[in-house]
Symmetry: C2
Subunit: 157 residues, 2 copies
DNA sequence: CGCAAATGGTTTGCATGCTTAATAACTGTA
DNA sequence: TACAGTTATTAAGCATGCAAACCATTTGCG
């Protein structure tokens, strides 16, 4: 039955996802390296350019989907590089508002260009229906992720 | 035109890939945590159970698609845990052969089960043609990855 | 009001990836 | 044989993610 036949592909699907995702990111990184942005530092800058202000660190945590300590450290680096600055939030003394400096604004535009260029290049020749088919599968997988493993599911379904 | 309409989705495709890949891996990690395997340490064990011996470290580097220093460090950990051992290669005094201990063999089977269970669960309800549509897109993206960025491609095509 | 719980941020320590550089051994060519 | 280049492994240091523990502040409830 299909299960055995599909096993090889199934086994590699998660692997494939991770590999492609990493390769994709590496492309962006490569393009942004010349702007002095290393690894993940461009993501906070990108999102700071997209989110409606005021942006608290927690907003970045949610947008970047990384944990608060990681965001804090990235912002330390970016602040030292004069790309962002933190200011107190008059509404809530616990929180800090994060903004792009002028240099940061410029960088954010470059990041956006680079990200779009990579996306255009990598998705070249792929039709919208094909993309949507992928999204459909992704959504189903995400749905399956939420069902706690308590239901071992299609063990031989 | 399609470009603007697709922009939102295109922008997020790489993001989506990375996120799904990470989530997938986290599922496996969670299931293997109870076996004392943390993070990425289960992958060398899995592949050692799959590759035809003898397995040199270089073979693992190629299979795991991570760099040689990373493999070396992981093997240090696994060796300390008595899951693998290194022995000299009589064919080539530079290289070392890596093997699973008996405990490692047992662990490899558990890892394989966990990986398959997660795969079955996450791909539940997704048909083979849908999977193949995804693979087709992945392959096209991989092909586009290889074309060096020299051709900026669909900048406004 | 006053205290417990939740929330925002930081610090610390660990896991895992990479790159660069060193060392040892092999290979090919003159 | 000898020497240059390649290959296998390791070592050292950096980047980035996480979780746990901590402080300050805010919120909610008696």
């Amino acid at each position: 039955m299909s299960d055995l036949e599909r096993n090889e592909k199934e086994l590699s699907f998660g692997r494939r996802l991770a590999r492609l995702g990493a390769a994709w990111r590496r492309q962006v990184d490569r393009d942004l390296h010349e702007y002095g942005l290393t690894e993940a530092t461009w993501r906070p800058v990108l999102y700071l350019g997209l989110l409606p202000p005021p942006v608290r660190q927690t907003d970045l945590v949610r947008a970047l989907e990384i944990e608060a300590p990681s965001v804090a450290r990235l912002l330390d680096v970016l602040e030292r590089r004069d790309l962002v600055f933190r200011s107190p939030d008059s509404e809530d003394k616990r929180s800090k508002l994060v903004s792009l400096t002028e240099k940061g604004e410029r960088t954010a535009r470059q990041v956006r260009h680079a990200v779009e260029a990579v996306s255009n290049r990598l998705l070249q020749g792929i039709s919208t229906p094909e993309l949507q088919a992928c999204y459909s599968v992704f959504e189903r997988i995400e749905a399956n992720l939420c069902q706690r493993a308590s239901a071992p599911a299609g063990e031989q379904a």
